[in-house]
Symmetry: C3
């Protein structure tokens, strides 16, 4: 059943009805869940755990209404050693998960995204394309991480935070830019970040805040619209 | 394995372990993902792409606590030519997806819903029952579209917006009415719309706004509670 | 194909490619969807309906970055008579669903959680670990119920509400405490509750409110930050 181009290491546990497409490489001591789908070209390091019903290496898709058609680079999904992917997660081609990254159940990560060592992508979190996420970052359950966004090392983002990258909402006449969250900043649950805002190093955003302007390093912003605490 | 009542067109690609129940009709040039589940009576047009692990044509379900039991009309799910359905999406019976509609991964659409041509339902967006969505509408990732709601043509709804239809929260003693969003209106990310508010044509709602009253055509509302900008 | 340690009652309908692991007990008149995964030790009562692609009895998982490693007690998932679990839901070990509970499609419930009779966990709602939910509670679509939270009987939580339990956002130097929602309270859609706030009996929280302080019984709070209505 497994295609002849697939390479599978030692001590690999394959769940029932798992589907492994052509040209997949799987390292040693990997566990793959039941009904998991590993699409073509995906590269999985050693000691990785893939949950039941996960989809790895999905190609980008679109319809003709989309202002911005996805880029297809041909790069595969690469998952480094010791990473963990939850049940029913969907991860696209052209994604890099560095060593020890944790992706929760039902999370999804689109193409052209890199996630640094040991970072956590919570359950049901959605990460859009063209985004860079540093090392030891925590993105909690249900967050929405927009496209064209930068999240530096050791940032903490509480549950259900929402971000955007499109100042003119679908006009397609302006460069897209998501928020830039600098090292060690903390974002409270259900906060809203507008396009292109810069959250400075170690800044803190209160739960439910709506951040419309940049927040300087070390400062705290709360409210709607967000204002700095003295 | 395929039931004798199933009709499958030319050049159809069926994923591994896909389940096709009785009385399903599938047009030409359709692609169906691995482990996808096409439940009985579902009608799929030509050139449609169905993602891995998608569930099409689910019947409504309930428990006895629910104030409002779902209606079961017997109407099937119909997907018109050229539509695209993402991985792990769940779409109910008695839904119409017109030509070229795009439904993202992990999105869900309940019964008695119609979605117009080329509209986009983002990843992980949830659409409740008895709702009408026009043509060329964009509903971005993670939106919650409540029941008994109307969304006219060319509306844009940013990520994570939330709507409601139940003024008395579970009392069950009042007619349900979701928001009414008129043609071309734009809603910013993580905005909150209360039951029955009317968002006028080409009105704009700021990110994170909480809209408690109607917003006239062409006006902009921001803040909590939402107020009109001059 | 079914392991010899599995016990299955009368009139059980098993979907195609359903996976039943060792030591599972299934009562009479149970329906299990296609591609559903019932992991080891799970106990399912009579008349239960399990949706397509649901995962029942998942073990907790983690990576080394997590401040708080999950506890693994060995207790199984127990689902009492007449409960309904939606498509693509993921429910962990050490969970109790009492009689008649409804869990929507794509919802997820982590370990060490008990949910009382006839309560409703909406589609795509996420329930974290160590949380207690009473009887006849309604938690609507897309809610985020944090860890270490208490929800008493007959509470109503509107769509997309967000809660948190971690005052210092990832520092790991403080006891975690989620909100405490007392009997019969109602929470509007997309409201944000901060750690450890107490929502009194029959209190009402407006849609989009950000609740930073306790709300007394019978009072209504709205706005950001939330303030009491007179």
């Amino acid at each position: 059943m497994i295609h002849e181009t697939v390479k599978i290491g030692k001590n690999v546990v394959l769940g029932e009805h798992a589907v492994i497409e052509e040209n997949v490489v799987i390292g040693d001591n990997v566990t793959i869940g039941h009904h998991a789908i590993i699409k073509k070209d995906t590269q999985i390091g050693s000691g990785v755990k893939i949950g039941d019903l996960a989809v790895l290496g999905k190609a980008a898709s679109s319809n003709k209404k989309m202002a911005r058609q996805p880029k297809r680079t041909g790069a595969p999904l690469r998952i480094e050693d010791g990473a963990v992917v939850g049940a029913s997660a969907v991860i696209y081609r052209d994604v890099l998960l560095e060593q020890g990254v944790f992706v929760g159940d039902m999370a999804s990560i689109r193409e052209n995204v890199a996630i640094g060592r040991e970072s956590i992508i919570g359950r049901n979190a959605m990460v859009e394309n063209n985004t860079r996420i540093g090392k030891r970052v925590t993105i909690q359950t249900g967050c929405y991480i927009t496209a064209d966004m930068t999240i530096e090392d050791e940032v903490f983002i509480g549950p259900c935070c929402s971000t955007s990258n499109d100042k003119y909402m679908g006009m397609g006449n302006y460069p897209y830019q998501g928020p830039i969250i600098k090292k060690g900043a903390k974002i409270g649950n259900n906060a809203t970040l507008l396009p292109a805002v810069v959250i400075g190093e170690h800044a803190v955003i209160g739960a439910g805040a709506v951040v419309t302007k940049d927040v300087p390093a070390g400062k705290t912003a709360v409210g709607n619209p967000g204002r700095l605490l003295k």
